[in-house]
């Protein structure tokens, strides 16, 4: 049985702890009495994923078996999650590939001619052919690409339809192909509790008009946290939209979960607790540290981004969306949850090289904020680990670097918007429509591999709750000018950061380090 997560108190014998630092790593000594929260070890994966998938499709939850829903002459659409998860990308074969192959086998058996497969990427960037091939596998790619396997375009006026308004007045749009299908099979991969459920359809196959209903500062400030759907206004909105979609088109949901085995054997020291490091792990750490210290950034990035995670399938369920998603959330929580007693004055976090929006590219300053103050901070249930007004300390070099292909609108957002204000609500009032409707960004989103023009704003407001909650945010080892533009403080070393934090939280503060990744969900009592 996998070892559960743990909270360890630092004493004299505690080894230094690993901090991720962008495309680098550090070992830091934490003050005596500080707590280190470790994620649970990876759960044992299902031994025969294909069999589990077959079983889930044959005995779905609160729905008929998939086979009985397929008939000759019908219009079938399969939609699947894009490359923003899992992180790092999964070693082949991807779970989505296994599920889709099973569904396609059934469709072929039923003699369905009209089958389309759509990557449900919402307002994310289009994937390259190699990225798409990695997710769906060579067999699906060569059979269906490009005319029957393609990526959703949320800005295509011809191929998105307006469905209606929810009771709360939220507009709902959907991909025309999905809306006109007799059956949509949604193939999901859930890594964190934020993913899946109604959110899959209502963001993945939607347009800006639909997504802006919940991707806004007000909703995100009311989502505490968006990693816990029952307490998340974001998810409540998605559910309302999703119910309207389910009234329009028949959707069969297939959700999968994976364990948190995020690092391959060569980087296994990152997966382990420092107390478990063997001599080999220490040697690997030293070698990696030296490499990341001296190698050029581009080289380091290529090495890190080439890493594939040996995730294992831990559950697969199919059928009616609510029933399926409840079980999915249980499986995810079983893997991720760590019980933590009480909040602390200071929380430290190492921000890694990779977030959902910089697969195969640089993590620009806005994405660093999105990752650190957005995702990592929000991995909690009940209450944040950080007390209200506490100090969040993050380690990341936070350089001024942007990928002009993937993140063109981020450059303008950083240079113009953040120079004006960093307040999410004010930004939304002044700049939302300008970025969302910019014709050049729209063109790049549709035809190149760029995120939608509005995406930097979403990345920024993803951190709105943490910005409001934390008394101070300090970046360690970062570029000073960049951090000041983002509206935060900068320290050279972790010790400096603790001293600076004492000015906000007082002397002898309590400190908690969240040792992520691998990811975890802190259940704060």
């Amino acid at each position: 049985m996998a070892r559960p997560g743990a909270v360890i108190e630092v004493d004299r014998n505690t080894p230094p702890v690993l901090f991720h630092f962008g495309e680098g790593i550090r070992l830091e000594k934490l003050p005596l009495g500080a707590r280190i929260v470790y994620p649970p070890d990876p759960l044992d994966p299902i031994a025969h994923p294909e069999r589990a998938i077959k079983r889930a499709l044959a005995k779905p939850m609160e729905d008929d078996p998939l086979k009985s829903l397929l008939r000759r002459g019908m219009k079938l659409t399969i939609a699947f999650d894009d490359l923003s998860l899992p992180l790092p990308p999964m070693a082949a074969p991807d779970v989505r590939q296994l599920v889709m192959e099973e569904v396609i086998d059934m469709a072929a058996e039923a003699g369905i001619e009209d089958l389309h497969i759509i990557a449900a990427l919402g307002l994310h960037r289009r994937m390259t052919e190699d990225e798409l091939r990695h997710i769906v596998g060579e067999r699906i790619f060569s059979t269906f690409h490009p005319d029957r396997l393609y990526q959703h375009d949320g800005e295509d006026p011809e191929n998105n339809v307006y469905i209606g308004k929810t009771a709360e007045g939220e507009d709902v749009t959907l991909s025309r192909r999905a809306a006109e299908s007799d059956l949509v099979v949604y193939v999901n991969l859930t890594l964190v509790p934020m993913d899946g459920g109604h959110k899959s359809m209502s963001t993945g196959l939607a347009s800006f008009r639909s997504i802006r209903a919940h991707h806004n500062a007000k909703t995100l400030l009311a989502s505490r946290s968006y990693m816990n759907p029952p307490d998340s206004a974001l998810h409540h909105s998605c559910i309302r939209q999703g119910q309207l979609i389910e009234d329009t088109v028949r959707v069969f949901h297939i959700e999968t979960t994976v364990n948190n085995h995020a690092f391959p054997a060569i980087a296994s020291f990152m997966q382990k607790r420092e107390t478990d490091w063997t001599a080999q792990d220490q040697a690997m750490f030293l070698a990696t540290k030296q490499m990341t210290d001296i190698a050029p950034v581009a080289f380091k990035r290529n090495v890190f981004h080439a890493m594939r995670a040996p995730y294992g399938l831990t559950s697969v369920q199919a059928g009616q969306v609510d029933a399926v998603h409840d079980q999915t959330l249980d499986a995810v929580r079983k893997q991720l949850t760590v019980r933590v007693e009480g909040q602390t004055d200071i929380v430290t976090l190492g921000v890694p090289y990779l977030g959902p929006y910089n697969v195969n590219s640089a993590m620009n300053p806005i994405l660093v904020v999105c990752m650190g103050l957005g995702y990592l901070f929000n991995f909690y249930r009940n209450k944040p680990v950080l007390r209200k007004g506490g100090v969040l300390i993050l380690t990341h070099p936070c350089r001024y670097e942007f990928d002009a292909v993937q993140h063109p609108s981020y450059i303008d957002y950083y240079d113009e918007v953040l120079a004006d204000t960093t307040d999410p609500i004010e930004i939304e009032k002044k700049y939302e429509m300008r970025f969302a409707e910019d014709p050049w960004f729209r063109q790049l989103y549709r035809k190149s591999h760029a995120y939608h023009g509005i995406h930097p704003h979403y990345a920024w407001i993803w951190a709105a709750h943490a910005m409001e909650h934390a008394g101070d945010v300090i970046f360690v080892g970062a570029d000073r000018d960049v951090v000041h533009r983002l509206g935060f403080k900068c320290a050279t070393t972790l010790e400096d950061a603790f001293e600076m934090a004492e000015q906000t939280v007082g002397r002898y503060p309590s400190v908690t380090h969240l040792r992520m990744p691998p990811i975890m969900l802190a259940d704060v009592e």
């Binding site: 072929a108 001619e113 060569s142 059979t143 269906f144 005319d147 029957r148």
Partner: protein, 293 residues
């Protein structure tokens, strides 16, 4: 009597002079070292000497050496120059019997593009028909090309039954065969009429023909160009076609030619490339297929 008449010296001189005269006449008559007059017809193809079947190129350790050459040199170079986009690879992934790959021919790059578009398994069991009068005129060149591409000499004069026979022997012994039924490279990139050899071979051996169309190779390396230039290429593979019982050799060849021409069209051609269901079934991994049985 003059000193030079009827003597042995006079005879020798006369013989030598006559020989020189003959040589000179022949030289003038056939324009040695000068361009062929444009009024003369094209030099005809010759029936080469009875070829060796180059059996050495299809046994170990030559196959392993070729594997290394292709994976270390030929395929990366092809990828870098043309970045070929392959459609329909599923038809060659799980071949359970030998096939004839019949493709249009506009460039020397065609062979490497076809080999690049095949799976490792199919490529390892594929021989390429190379024009006997072109590639095997110089035995050394022929052998080197054979080491790289697994070629064997194939007559394009249309009359060498012995060579068609050796091709059919290859097919019968389990080798796939790459054929360019046009006979030679297209002078302008357009598809020329197919010669009936491909139909004859398919009928004779009952082998399916896989139509292939290569688009863009003419831009990469047209006729009369010595070095390739980078450019995008699309290789489209159609579903295997089997000659019908009542179909004649020429009719079947015409059908193959139509298929290759259809593949050249821009949108997908389900009639030739297959519906998704057909393609999906064709690409089913073999072990599973047996498992289902």
């Amino acid at each position: 009597m003059s000193w030079y008449s009827e003597g042995p010296l006079t005879r020798i001189t006369s013989i030598l002079g006559g020989a020189l005269d003959d040589v000179s006449r022949v030289q003038r008559g056939w324009h040695w070292n000068t361009p062929r007059p444009h009024t003369w017809p094209e030099r005809g193809t010759v029936v080469p000497d009875p070829p060796t079947d180059l059996g050495w190129a299809r046994v170990e350790p030559v196959r392993s050496i070729r594997y290394l050459i292709q994976h270390g040199l030929l395929l990366p170079f092809t990828e870098a120059m043309a970045h070929p986009k392959v459609e329909g690879r599923e038809w060659v992934r799980e071949l359970d019997r030998p096939v004839i790959f019949a493709a249009n021919h506009s460039s020397h790059a065609d062979t490497s593009l076809i080999l690049h578009s095949l799976t490792d398994k199919a490529r390892d069991r594929t021989v390429v028909a190379a024009a006997a009068d072109y590639w095997f005129k110089h035995p050394l060149l022929g052998n080197i090309v054979s080491l790289f591409l697994n070629t064997f000499p194939f007559s394009r004069t249309g009359g060498a039954q012995a060579q068609l026979h050796s091709s059919s022997q290859l097919l019968k012994s389990g080798w796939n065969l790459v054929l360019f039924p046009e006979g030679s490279r297209s002078p302008d990139g357009r598809i020329q009429e197919f010669k009936p050899g491909v139909g004859w071979l398919a009928k004779e051996t009952g082998t399916p023909v896989v139509p292939m169309h290569i688009q863009g190779a003419f831009q990469v390396m047209p006729r009369h160009q010595k070095l390739p230039l980078p450019g995008p290429v699309r290789v489209r593979i159609g579903k295997p076609m089997t000659p019908e019982a009542k179909e004649g050799t020429r009719e079947f060849t015409a059908r193959v030619e139509r298929a290759v021409r259809t593949l050249s069209a821009e949108p997908r051609q389900p009639d030739i490339q297959g519906t998704w269901v057909e393609r999906w079934r064709a690409s089913k991994p073999r072990e599973l297929r047996y498992g289902d049985d």
